[in-house]
Symmetry: C3
């Protein structure tokens, strides 16, 4: 039998004892889980980053995986903690919208439970560290086979994050940079599908006009700023073997605009 | 049967091949352990940080866990390596006081062994990398069930780290900042218990007077500098949704002073 | 039975969803693997660093370990992906020379296969993220017991990285700094064996003359710049309790020269 998979995602930072304490508290309830670190270096309290992170990673995990997510600026206030069942997987998250991106791209509907059953929590609960005192022990109990209903009542409403969306205005696709990875690649929210369907006249990020649309980084010489379809199937702007973020001075939220000549079904450089 | 839990804590840095080599050397002896990374980004050779780290994390792990700790400025000198049994768990540490904080808060007494039995070590031992050549293979053998006595003789003395302690002088509680987390929160060594028992007149960190004592970050508006009881049950100073360390220019060692009106049993904002 | 060991090494960065997505894609094929993070913070697209990293770590792992390495500046171009069998272990690597250092120090010959069998890949393969879409699922299938021949045909040629080599010119050993660790220690490619066999007249790194040759850091006072034999059995230059890289302003590629008095069999301070 396979050990239950539990992943951990936090903004605690790479040298934090908080990550270690959470792992201990979880393993103390179920030492047989397989713990998988997703990241502990998410930008502090950045819910939009967390939302993108989860929608980029969670769908690839097998059914039955439990994802524990602690990006929690509201810790110790009245914010709820939720157990979400979605697509055969489960997430334990603060009710702050950090999973909105995942929900938007899901094909099925979630079941959501409010985590209130204190018998599953640590005996003492601090005001500032629910990751260790609530999330970790609850995750331990769930990994032992506790049904979702054990954590608390099912709920029908929760916080949604206001995520920027792209839109089509005549011959323009207007979006923005929603994620910058550690290579400095700029991922936008302009759908790859829209780009593939179009004959492109120009692509701009902020005031910078991108030189070429390519299929992959290797098609242009080092130092070129190119556009391509990202691994998330959205429009991406990258500097080949460099950092587009540094080169262009771009941050999350910078507008991205694609101008089309005429709508069409294919462009020469589109991926298959 | 559950795989034996072995945790790793080092100051080797996130991109270091040294962490990877240690993992290999440990798994070569026992490929069935469950390896848990606590952190590899501890500030280099900072024993006080390491001591705080361990006391904040180790107590949450289940009995039987083995913690391998390599923050080891004295590697290759005559410093000893110790196997410590404490609270049902074990630690493999350089004898440099990195576990002093853990010992001070423990309720039971440790059994300590000097690691000298070379048959458990790697065949060649380098002068600069005992993590790979001694700690890892010894941990592997211990995880296979070797009794503590196998590593070497029991000892009754070891290095203690000089940790700063807080003290009470009349109406003042005097301590200092002993740990700064990756959010920039300032954790002091002033006991939460003392704060809860007191009616607070003022709290200062260095020359900065803290505005309010709250129960959790969310009780004050973003940007406020607040005091609260930390998850380690000590006085903490934080900037809500910001970094108090950056805001106040504070480092570890900065004095923290709590002035009390009169001793009392409770304050309004104390955690339950 | 022990879970199959699969290690992951990338340059994706510590907060990247790409690492998480790769783990998910691998566990989706085989949820029973034991995943071991080697590092996800390798300098972006730095093949020489990756080569040193792998040769410093891989040899310590037990037979049967599968190492997945994604430092892949050529992703999406015609570069091949290779499955390498070497020394009883396996590596899944881009064909860009990232494993050249490992090969050079190996005593046996590799068997190498070109990864072309698409039935082992993700159903959709993006142009920019073969780590998730090819490496991860192929690793999953291999960990389930697929023989190497399943991934594609055996090949006899591959890309070799041009790694700098040290040489002996009369009384001089000439090498260079090939790796700088997170402590700022400078590791050269001058063989420890050559240093041990020599009576040393002087050691210089760039224009800086090193004060002493010692056996371990602890033999000289803090702040000293010393030479010693590294844990990789090459000449290393370090600042005791400090960073030689910062102190001397040295980067990878800086020349290292050892002048010998006369060849001899031992030096006083050589390790046993």
């Amino acid at each position: 039998m396979t050990a239950p998979l539990v992943t951990l995602t936090t903004d605690f930072g790479p040298r934090s004892p908080y990550v270690a304490a959470m792992k201990g508290a979880l393993l103390a309830v179920n030492p047989a889980v397989q713990l998988i670190d997703l990241s502990h270096s998410l930008p502090p309290q950045d819910l939009q980053y967390c939302s993108w992170f989860l929608q980029s990673a969670v769908p690839y995990f097998p059914p039955g995986t439990l994802h524990v997510v602690v990006v929690d600026p509201g810790v110790g206030t009245g914010r709820d903690i939720l157990l979400v069942e979605l697509g055969g997987q489960r997430l334990l998250v603060p009710d702050n919208g950090c999973w909105t991106g995942l929900l938007r791209q899901a094909s099925d509907r979630p079941r959501v439970f409010r985590v209130i059953e204190r018998s599953l929590w640590h005996a003492q609960v601090s005001a500032t560290f629910h990751g260790r005192d609530i999330f970790a022990p609850v995750a331990g109990h769930l990994s032992l086979g506790s049904p979702a209903e054990r954590v608390g009542p099912e709920v029908k409403t929760w916080i949604d994050l206001q995520l920027p969306s792209a839109c089509v205005k005549g011959d323009a696709l207007d979006g923005e940079v929603v994620f910058i990875d550690d290579f400095g690649n700029l991922l936008s929210n302009v759908a790859g599908e829209e780009v593939r369907r179009s004959s492109i006249a120009s692509i701009t990020v902020g005031s910078h006009r991108v030189e070429r649309l390519v299929r992959s980084y290797g098609e242009a010489p080092p130092g070129s700023v190119v556009a391509l379809i990202s691994s998330a199937d959205t429009l991406e702007v990258a500097e080949v073997h460099g950092s587009a973020a540094r080169r262009l001075g771009v941050t999350v939220g910078t507008p991205v605009r694609v101008l089309r000549r005429v709508p069409s079904d294919t462009i020469a450089s589109a991926p298959p």
